[in-house]
């Protein structure tokens, strides 16, 4: 969780990576609605890449275009240098795991898994061996003769994975594959997916709207907003160095201090806010710029002592506290009605002091206070703070 100081590129380094999947200025509309609006991306081989965003952001459309199930209106998608559209169905290096699994209901588990191999005209004996081995991997050997309707959701999910993986694709496309499962099962399947991806050494492109899933599973996250890429990077980059407020809020809770840049330093800036001057880190800004300084709840520290005048400190009053088991989410109110969310471990000594109305000193470490440009569409009263 260390914050790298120094020269920071908020867009990460993915653009420079050699891409197995190269998406170049792709657009796709359905009627008047632009589902994908000028997206360019390079996704590296062997990575677990997540397309993250709310429903309607275009992530599934992008996935389907990579899989050749949808054709871009303009732009190109290449896999290993070859345009997706020019692959024959059998040579296509991608395989899709559908949200609803799309298992063939009239075929047994075994036949479902064998389907892709049969299309490749493999000898029956070889198909049999491969299917058995793949079912072993997903732990469904005894269910080989069952029909999908006789299986639980988690088991169906495994069959869908086995059916796709047995054909040895270079890229596995997964469209919210865990959405239909309950929480416990979802967590277990996440771990299994991750280890499957590692052991099979396949590139996974995974679509989800669940930020925990995205941060926990991925090597790379692509956050999407209204058909565009809002940010791409490693989960840590996305979480700790969001490019804008949309990304910052989508991947977790934040507290926001609005301010104006008063001076710049190496890898950071001094920002004047309603609660005083704060040092913050972030991308290069110029004095006079309107910015947001954001901080995650777990980075806020309750300082010992009553001195609210030190560096990056402010006095704040406990507004509300929500007990969450391992920690408490506490909302503080600072000067000028600034709201700061903090999570405090339930077992921490200072937890006892958290009672509504109590005033404490909060420290917002300069390394954790991150600068993002002020919302372009924010109204004047908000951005003048």
């Amino acid at each position: 969780m260390t914050i790298v100081t120094g020269k920071i590129e908020p867009m990460g380094t993915m653009a420079a990576e050699h891409g197995l999947i190269e998406i170049d200025r792709v657009r796709k509309s359905f009627g008047a609605h632009a589902a994908i609006d000028d997206v360019s991306l390079a996704l590296g081989e062997g990575h677990f890449v997540t397309l993250l965003g709310p429903s309607g952001c275009g992530k599934t459309t992008l996935l389907r275009m990579i899989g050749g199930l949808e054709t871009p209106d303009s732009g190109s998608i290449r896999i290993a240098g070859t345009p997706v559209a020019s692959f024959s169905p059998i040579d296509r290096p991608t395989r899709m795991v559908f949200q609803s699994y799309a298992l063939f209901p009239h075929m047994t588990v075994e036949k479902n898994v064998a389907y892709g191999l049969q299309r490749r005209r493999m000898p029956d004996a070889e198909i049999k061996t491969k299917v058995a081995a793949q079912l072993e991997v997903v732990g469904l050997s005894e269910k080989a003769k069952s029909y999908p309707s006789e299986l639980s959701g988690g088991q169906q999910q495994r069959v869908a994975l086995a059916r796709a993986l047995v054909t040895k694709p270079r890229v596995l496309l997964l469209d919210e594959p865990l959405a239909a499962l309950d929480l416990k099962l979802r967590q277990r399947m996440q771990a299994e997916l991750k280890s499957l991806q590692r052991s099979a050494a396949i590139t996974f492109v995974y679509v989800t709207h669940d930020q925990h899933e995205a941060l926990g599973l991925s090597d790379r996250v692509v956050v999407m907003e209204k058909g565009r890429v809002a940010q791409r990077g490693t989960p840590a980059e996305i979480y700790h160095r969001p490019a804008n407020r949309y990304v910052a809020e989508f991947v977790g809770d934040i507290s926001v201090l609005d301010g104006t840049v008063r001076g710049t330093a190496d890898g950071g800036a001094r920002i004047e806010t309603a609660a005083g001057l704060f040092m913050a880190s972030g991308p290069a800004v110029r004095p006079g710029d309107k910015v947001h300084a954001i901080i995650r709840p777990e980075s806020v520290r309750v300082a010992s002592g009553d001195d609210g005048t030190g560096a990056n400190r402010l006095r704040a009053t406990v507004g509300s506290a929500t007990f969450r088991g391992a920690d408490m989410l506490v909302e503080f109110r600072g000067p000028a009605d600034i709201r700061i969310q903090t999570s405090i471990a339930s077992t921490a000594p200072e937890a006892a002091a958290i009672t509504p109305g109590h005033t404490v000193t909060l420290e917002l470490p300069a390394t954790a206070l991150w600068i993002i440009p002020a919302d372009r569409n924010a109204n004047a009263s908000e951005s003048s703070l």
Binding site: G67, G68, L69, P89, I90, R92, T94, R95, M96, F98, S100, A102, L103, F104, P105, H106, M107, T108, Y115, G116, R119, R120, Y147, P148, S149, R163, A164, T167
Partner: protein
């Protein structure tokens, strides 16, 4: 469950009574009557197998065979014509769907009799078809076998019962999850392979229902063969009608009707078996 089942008995009573009164009872009566004799236009309750041995006569045997042959051909033709129509409607047509569906169902609103008569006007020696063929010079004289032939009966029955095949197949294909087709294509299958391995097997319940809905009325049809088949194309339906309405041979008529029912039952059970797809709930 047990209390639920015994608790539902009173609820089922009206249905059971209805079923017994208007279905089981008449059939039981027919079974009994089919083993009786008719003397002087009156039923005589004397046990005899004569009615059934009479069925084995070449005349009646050929009528039974013709009936089932015509019904089978009509069903197969309805399936061959109806399936592509239903497929096109369900999987290809987007905007005109309701309109085309209405067009398909519309003939059902007109009388069966009218539709049979209409075919007489089309197929007769001075009918539309002959007029057209002579007009374009395919033939000099009117073709006579268009009307009063098995051909005429088959054409009319296919036309009349086609909607009954199209509708259930349409219903199944319309509900077919398009992601299954995408999955098939994603796994490397071409459109034809996907059709044979996914679409067709999953439309079996609809095909089976459609075949049943065509075969049963076609095998029992009476008006169309009467009007369009002429005296040489007798089907069981006409013979049964004659036995009851013309010659008052109730006993033999019952035996014929039961034979027809039994034959249809065998075919229906076979069709239902074809329609059962393992794995589908």
């Amino acid at each position: 469950m047990r209390t639920g089942r015994s608790g539902s008995v009173p609820l089922l009573t009206p249905a059971t009574a209805w079923f017994g009164l208007f279905f089981a009872l008449p059939i039981a009566a027919m079974v009994v009557v089919s083993f009786w004799m008719v003397t002087d236009y009156k039923l005589v309750p004397t046990f005899t197998l004569a009615n059934y041995t009479k069925l084995a006569q070449p005349l009646y045997l050929s009528i039974i065979v013709r009936t089932f042959a015509i019904a089978t051909i009509v069903t197969i033709l309805a399936a061959l014509i109806g399936y592509p129509v239903a497929y096109y409607l369900a999987r290809r047509l987007k905007r005109m769907r309701v309109f085309v569906l209405t067009l398909i169902v519309l003939p059902l609103w007109t009388s069966y009799l009218v539709r049979s008569f209409a075919w007489m006007l089309v197929l007769g020696t001075s009918g539309a078809l002959n007029w057209f063929l002579q007009g374009i010079g395919v033939t000099d004289e009117p073709v006579r076998w268009f009307l009063y032939s098995e051909f005429a009966v088959i054409v009319a029955l296919v036309h009349i019962y086609l909607p009954f095949f199209i509708l259930p197949v349409f219903a199944v294909l319309d509900k077919l999850d398009h992601r299954l087709l995408e999955a098939s294509s994603d796994l490397g299958a071409g459109p034809w392979t996907t059709f044979w391995t996914v679409t067709l097997p999953l439309s079996r319940p609809g095909i089976s229902t459609g075949c049943l809905l065509v075969f049963i009325p076609a095998a029992g049809s009476y008006v169309s063969p009467e009007l369009l088949g002429g005296p040489s194309v007798l089907m069981i339906g006409s013979v049964i009608a004659q036995q009851f309405g013309l010659v008052f041979e109730y006993a033999f008529g019952s035996a014929l009707a039961l034979t027809l029912m039994l034959g249809i039952l065998v075919v229906a059970l076979g069709l239902l078996r074809i329609g059962r797809v393992q794995g589908l709930k």
